[in-house]
Subunit: 397 residues, 2 copies
């Protein structure tokens, strides 16, 4: 299948290029380099050193026999997207080309606008080009479980049947996102749902849990094929950040009481799920929503788990909760469905604890890079608008 990946230089995009190529798909990438710039703006780096885009493609050619088609460009540029569609004729588009950070979107009004415009316009340009030039193609869009927020009822996969005043209808499940970033993803989901209805496009909208991990497969990749792993407050996700903290002996910092519950999954399982969705496309006009995660955990529980696994490899770290910079429910009901991908054959390949061990192993050799940027490990972007590093709720011993 001819698969165009938007955001092909990113945390998920780059390993997905390889994962799909290994399965015999023909892949192309487009990326404007924004993720590298955003992380630099946060005064951080990827814990795992990553090669420049051209080196990455050369290594890709060495591994898979040919360089992928590639555009250094911005998917907000409708004419660029049109020209890619004309030239390369994708049968599927995986849209990972968005700003994926809640804290980045909460820095100030300028950043909120940047994230919303980036994500809404990029998604729209892909939809517009599909409508004009590839109406049969399948859009696989990465959403987030964070679109749903934490309602006090179970979370279905996108839609639910409700009874109201004696009448029944099946409706989109209401979204209650918790940051300008998460709302940008809701806006995108709404636009995609309508594009399927009005233009007959087909799309899969993946409400992904928090991904973590260093390896898209069993073995670590060759250096120039490795994907990034961020640990700054904006682009690092919870488990990845805990692992980076553990590697340098920094206390692990769950936010608040740590009873917020979220769905998590390993990078390799994210690859598997996205591939399953691609290889089992929806019908023309169909808009389907997959909730994608492996297990639900509380944040403090995960920090304890990382501390335990770290202890097993001789890293002695304590868990020291910090003030929660976010505005979110301290404790809440959380029971999201996640059946659709299991129905397509999704089989989790490894448990969360086992994967944490591999992340720690892969990070150990890069301890010095993390130590050199250790100040980004404690958040300073607060949801109320203040820019002030959070304090300890329990100070390190």
């Amino acid at each position: 299948m001819r698969v165009l990946i938007a955001g092909a230089d990113g945390y998920l995009g780059w390993p997905l290029m390889q994962h799909l190529a290994a399965r015999g798909h023909d892949v192309a990438g487009v990326d404007n380099g924004a993720r590298r710039r955003w992380v630099a703006e946060m005064e951080s780096v990827s814990a795992i050193p990553i090669a420049a885009p051209a080196e990455r493609r050369a290594a890709f050619a060495e591994r898979f026999g040919t360089e992928p088609a590639w555009w250094d460009g911005d998917v907000r540029d409708l004419d660029l997207v049109r020209s890619i569609f004309r030239e390369w004729r994708p049968e599927a588009v995986v849209h990972l080309g968005e700003c994926p950070s809640a804290p980045y979107s909460m820095i100030d009004a300028e950043h909120a606008i940047e994230v919303q415009v980036n994500n809404v316009v990029g998604t729209f340009a892909l939809l517009g080009a599909m409508h004009e030039l590839a109406p049969e193609a399948h859009l696989l869009k990465l959403g987030t479980m964070g679109e749903y927020g934490t309602p006090d009822i179970d979370i279905p996969e996108g839609f639910f049947e409700v009874e109201f005043r004696g009448r029944r209808d099946t409706l989109p499940f209401p979204r209650q996102a918790g940051s300008w970033y998460h709302w940008s993803k809701v806006h995108g989901s709404n636009n995609i749902m309508f594009a399927c209805k009005v233009w007959g496009l087909r799309a899969t909208d993946v409400m992904q849990g928090v991904v973590f991990g260093t390896r898209p497969g069993d073995e670590p990749a060759a250096p120039a094929l490795r994907t990034r792993l961020d640990f700054d407050e904006a682009f690092g996700t919870a488990i990845n950040r805990f692992c980076c903290q553990a590697v340098i002996g920094h206390p692990l910092t769950p936010f608040g009481e740590g009873r917020q519950r979220r769905g998590f999954l390993a990078l390799r399982d994210s690859m598997q799920c996205l591939t399953l969705a691609l290889e089992h496309p929806p019908e023309p006009g169909e808009y389907r929503v997959f909730n994608q995660f492996q297990e639900v955990y509380g944040l403090a529980e995960l920090a304890d788990m990382v501390a335990r696994v770290a202890g097993e490899v001789g890293l002695d770290v304590e868990v020291c909760p910090v003030e929660n910079p976010r505005q979110e429910a301290a404790s809440h009901h959380y029971a999201p469905d996640h059946q659709h991908l299991l129905d397509l054959g999704y089989e989790p390949t490894i448990d969360i604890e086992g994967e944490m061990g591999l992340v720690l192993e892969d990070l150990l050799e890069h301890r010095a890079r993390i130590e050199a940027h250790a100040e980004v490990l404690v958040p300073g972007v607060r949801w109320d608008g203040r820019r002030e590093r959070v304090g300890w709720l329990r100070a390190p011993a």
Copy 2:
């Protein structure tokens, strides 16, 4: 009260400036002139001649004793909005500064992006400036009943209590908008809801029905104080278009079978409702939704009503349905609540049929302007992406 009106040069903004000034409020306006440019792009004009912005303000000064504070500028410009807030210190902001047209947003991908970015960013800049500089101010935002679409259950005012798998929660009512424009309003509503939650702002989101009419009060305004009335397919609303058609003897053109049902209200009642909302602001942190319309009608029913009223003043017109350029349910359940404004004291001042008579009376002297642009009376923007004028479903006799 110090009220800043964004979109103060528009169909609702300009009469609202006067209506609020007449009630003793201190008003300021900001407008980038986009509505005048958009209507020109549709190769049309306002049926009622309107004065240039400076003449309007001079006439305002003559009527109310002083010119309103005014900025020729774009509310997408965050720094401009901040400087207005610093300089003029509004206690309330009425946001009418959006692109209000579904067909305009459906012209092509470029227009869709323009409308969504315009509406999302403008709304966001106002929210951001309020958060930074006027956290106690009240945002009165004009939404649209079209955000809800036509679900097969009753439509509450913004929120509903649902039971799902034995648990209950009060959730935002799911939106199922029917154009890129309508979705842009949903995106804005979602952002406002979150701004109230995360920043403690207060806002009223008015899901307005289709407004029609020429007069904000009982008497026609002095020429330079009159508001615009559009009849092109993008910026003309149903009843206004039917009235313009009637005035030049053009058949009235409901779309399809005309059994789509929508809520309607007269311009003067829109003024009354917006004023009520302003004079009864929500609590800090409160996000409230008002559904605002007077009566629900089917489109064919309204066309018949305009034809009847026109006949009474000697205008002989027939009703000739055309193909529906939109994608919308041909017939559907439609029972939206609209109690909140009635609870605040809203009293419809006149019936729809009576108001149609006044519109026809006011339009008759401008017959030549409408005739000169009669080709804009038949739509050519179709929801499936084609640009081709719709055909008659029943040809004129």
